[in-house]
Amino acid sequence: MTSYLELSSITKSYGNFTALDNVSLSVEKGEFVTFLGPSGSGKTTTLMIVAGFEKASGGSVQVGGRSISELAPHDRNIGIVFQNYALFPHKTAAENVYFPLQMRGVSRGKGLRQAEEMLSLVGLKGFGHRHPKELSGGQQQRVALARALVFEPSLLLLDEPLGALDKNLREQMQIEIKRIQRSLGVTTIFVTHDQSEAMSMSDRIVVFEKGRIEQCAAPLDIYHRPQTSFVAAFIGESNLIPATVTNAASREADNPLLGSFEYAGADNRLTDGQAVTLLIRPEHIKLSRNQVENRKNVRMIVDTIVNYGDNALVIGRAGDIPMRVRVLGADVVIIKEGEECCISWTPDSVFVITK
């Protein structure tokens, strides 16, 4: 049983440079999947291969059980929203949305009516007669979305569509896109380098790095159970501590500077003497003046306190290992920069990464 969208062993090289290395992925119908990664990680290249604008050096793309690798872009029936929206400047909003219907032979009257319906679905009722330059960034974004959806594409691809918007508008559009995507049930691939966007919108996140898929999982799994140090560092804030497993049976590891650790989780079988990385999220660490019972306690010298109002980030060193602690705003008054304090956590908060 194959999934709706199936990428099999996709490879892409430019001369000696390998942009994509054996990328395989299955996406279910109606799923919202985000490609997340730094620039140059291969996420956009993968999207362009699905869209047909780049040709893969190897591997195949299937949609609904049919290979589309050999189809020209205009025969693929895939809707795309580009980062700069790519609205046709010489056409009105309604004509832009009508364009894909026009190309499919729908008459002008019927097509423009359908376009107006789609525009109202994206919240632009009555804006059809305006030209793109008469619309705000957010409105252009909605037109681009309507245009990519009006012909009922088999896939919707979004290439960093929120990058050009300011913060408030971006959050608003995140919610909007999710709402529209759900109401139409269209299978969607969303490309971004913004982890909070990926977290808040996706059913699943695919983390790309150096042309490979590092991990593919639900947002909270990615956050709480990262499979590699790269994923742990890229998603959210993290404290990564190198350690050696001393006793796999009793779940103990050791760092030469911080001493022995008890850990709760690891997704792979561990053996004694194995070198691993321990992940502790900053919000799972407690900051106090004195040691706290039933927790692993470590002394830390505070270097910097960054206040955000409702919370604060305390950056310091524990035995020369840089540590970040997230505390609620009220708790931070107990400590000043340059002072020594105690940080502590429970074994539940320590996740073992083997790669």
């Binding site: 205009h74 809707g79 190309m103 107006e116 059809g128 007669h129």
Partner: protein, 268 residues
């Protein structure tokens, strides 16, 4: 310092604009040759221009030659620009250089070259000869204008059109061409003006049969300084003025008319 700069600016402006301003009153002059200030005013030379075949035929020749030059130039330049701007190929930098060469070589050198070359082909003193020569001179200008436009063209627009189901041909017709239209028009306009204005090559090769307006004006000023020259200069000046002002005028008119708020677009 500031007032000095201002006066310097005003003087330079007057110096540049003066020849333009002088020809206008001279065209209405009643003197028998070019003379400023005019001793009196009348419309006689305008009538002379519009009734004298010795002037009308060169004018017609110039229009025909400039139009044909524009057409030929655009037929060559549009595909060439797409190739040079969008594709990488062996010998591209040489091709780039060849396109722009006629701009660097002095017209007089080109003219001598055309004179002997087109002479061998039997094309001297013919419309075709002048059109071919003018096309060579118009190509680099049209290419420069169009390539600047094409470089600024957002290729995502074409990708968007393709993804929306438009074949490459339809993408070109519905998206690329309309968006490039202003660039194409300006490029063609430059090609036309270049040919219409060109004198050196025309003097060498246009001969009696294909005599262009600038050549006729040059002959005339050498022989008799006929004030009809001032008439033609004035007409050309205002033609250009209208040409430049028209787009601004049109866009100003458009923005003043309030857009009707159409209900679900064009239902009938």
């Amino acid at each position: 310092m500031n007032t000095f700069m201002r006066w310097a600016g005003i003087l330079v402006t007057i110096f540049i604009a003066a020849p333009l301003v002088i020809v206008v009153p001279m065209s209405f002059s009643s003197a028998s040759s070019l003379q400023f200030p005019p001793p009196g005013y009348w419309f006689g030379y305008y009538r002379a221009y519009f009734t004298d075949l010795d002037w009308l035929i060169p004018t017609w020749n110039s229009v025909v030659i400039a139009s044909a030059t524009t057409l030929l130039t655009m037929l060559l330049v549009v595909p060439a620009t797409f190739a040079l701007v969008r594709h990488k190929f062996r010998g591209k930098s040489v091709a780039d250089l060849m396109m722009l060469m006629p701009l660097a070589v002095p017209h007089i050198v080109m003219a001598v070259g055309y004179y002997s070359y087109l002479g061998d082909l039997g094309l001297v003193h013919s419309h075709m000869g002048v059109i071919l020569a003018h096309t060579c001179l118009s190509v680099p200008i049209a290419f420069l204008v169009l390539s600047a436009n094409l470089k600024g063209f957002d290729r995502n627009l074409e990708r968007a059109a393709l993804s929306l189901g438009a074949s490459p041909t339809k993408t070109f017709i519905h998206v690329t061409l309309p968006i490039l239209r202003p660039g194409l028009i300006i490029s063609a306009l430059f090609a036309f003006v270049q040919s219409f204005d060109e004198t050196v090559v025309a003097i060498f090769i246009s001969g009696r049969n294909a005599e262009t307006l600038p050549r006729k004006m040059f002959d005339s000023i050498r022989q008799e300084a006929d004030p009809v020259i001032a008439v033609i200069s004035t007409l050309l000046f205002f033609l250009v003025l209208v040409g430049i002002a028209a787009p601004y005028f049109i866009s100003a008119l458009r923005s003043r008319v309030p857009k009707p708020s159409r209900s679900p677009a064009g239902a009938h």
